[in-house]
Assembly symmetry: C2
Homo-oligomer: 234 residues x 2
């Protein structure tokens, strides 16, 4: 593991280590910039750069005239990995199969308008199931905004999962995910082969380019076969 030998990076690591070890607890005032400057034998700009990075990362807070303090952490931020379903199944060594149950180009319905935040225009609505080794893995319902991605109308989504195609071909700038739990209804019962009322996890995703919504997806997983895992981000 190679780490930068820049002075500002060293100062940053040192302060981070002192906070992580508990030596500088939340609320502690850390040394003033001019003190760090003296102890590292560098300029205040260099110290300031290290501190600013830690402030942006949320580890420190500063108040003019008073000094710089270790933050009281209020939120736990974690990196959630949301893999491409096909890749995820392949990574488990299972054969992947896709069933396209429905494909429809239509004028946006009221619900489509709400989910894609559009006033009208055409949407591509898809329903498909992802299988791992012959067993239903996930149920997916997807809307694609055809005014944002007209070329999607030409794609054969029975051959390539819509999520994989979009990821590879459509640039996007922002996404929001929503994770909920709910009891399986008739649809999930049939599509996933689970018992009525079984707990399922729903992962909804909205994807933007700029202010325009590109696609909405809702993926449903059987609760007893799926877990989302997130790691703390330092």
């Amino acid at each position: 593991m190679k780490q930068s030998s820049a002075i500002h990076a060293q100062i940053r690591r040192d302060i981070e280590a002192r906070i992580m070890s508990g030596e500088w607890a939340p609320g502690t005032r850390i040394p003033y910039e001019h003190q760090l400057m003296a102890s590292y034998g560098c300029s205040r700009m260099t110290v300031n750069r290290a501190l600013r990075a830690l402030i942006e990362a949320g580890l420190l807070e500063s108040r003019r005239r008073a000094g710089t303090f270790v933050s009281h952490p209020r939120i736990h931020r974690a990196a959630l990995e949301i893999p491409d379903i096909r890749d995820e199944i392949a990574a488990q060594g299972e054969p992947y199969r896709l069933d396209l149950d429905r494909r429809e180009v239509r004028a946006a319905s009221e619900e489509d308008k709400r989910l894609l935040q559009i006033d009208g225009g055409a949407v591509l609505a898809l329903e498909c199931r992802h299988h791992a080794g012959g067993r239903a893995y996930a149920l997916e319902r997807r809307l694609i905004n055809l005014s944002a991605v007209p070329q999607a109308a030409e794609i054969d989504f029975a051959a390539e999962p819509p999520g994989s195609w979009l990821l590879a071909h459509v640039p996007w700038t922002e996404a929001e995910h929503r994770i909920t739990a709910f009891n399986a209804g008739a649809k999930e019962l049939v599509a996933l082969g689970i018992s009525a009322g079984a707990a399922c996890m729903a992962l909804e995703r909205w994807t933007w380019r700029g202010t325009e919504r590109i696609t909405y997806a809702r993926q449903v997983y059987p609760g007893d076969r799926y877990a989302l895992v997130a790691h703390f981000r330092p």
Copy 2:
């Protein structure tokens, strides 16, 4: 909404806006620092500061001699914010109440050893319920490794939620979260006042300091009242 009028912040906002609008697509080379410097009439240090912030945020990448480029976004990582439950309820304007149902200091059981990855020693086991406005919000079961956090034995967890106390007093270096859906059993039925078999979301969290596990928590939320939200690129 107050925003900084500093030059570096303005440059940053302008570049961010161009990326978000799609004007500068992933892979595009943005103007060289000396060009931005000329067009904003400021020094290169100021431009550099703005760019560095965007690089750290993952929006830009730079290569010496070649220039600075808009990043290709990586889909599979979203930032999941897991707030302190007490703060979250307070933020919704609801009064918060905590019920401590069980508190026990004991020698680690086999399950405790597995969850905390310890060979023995004492653990503090807690069970509590978080209420928002008189309504059950979440059920929490928690184990604290007393060899890592001995002072936890002295704390009155009927007054302060264990998660809040730990967050404020114990520094950690790593955490892992696991999100699952399951059908409510007798315990959830009684504790959360939901019907039998209702879908619930379970959020499990393991927290480390260095290689030592500090605590394990399992929080259960009624599926119909709770959603976890994750953003890509704030």
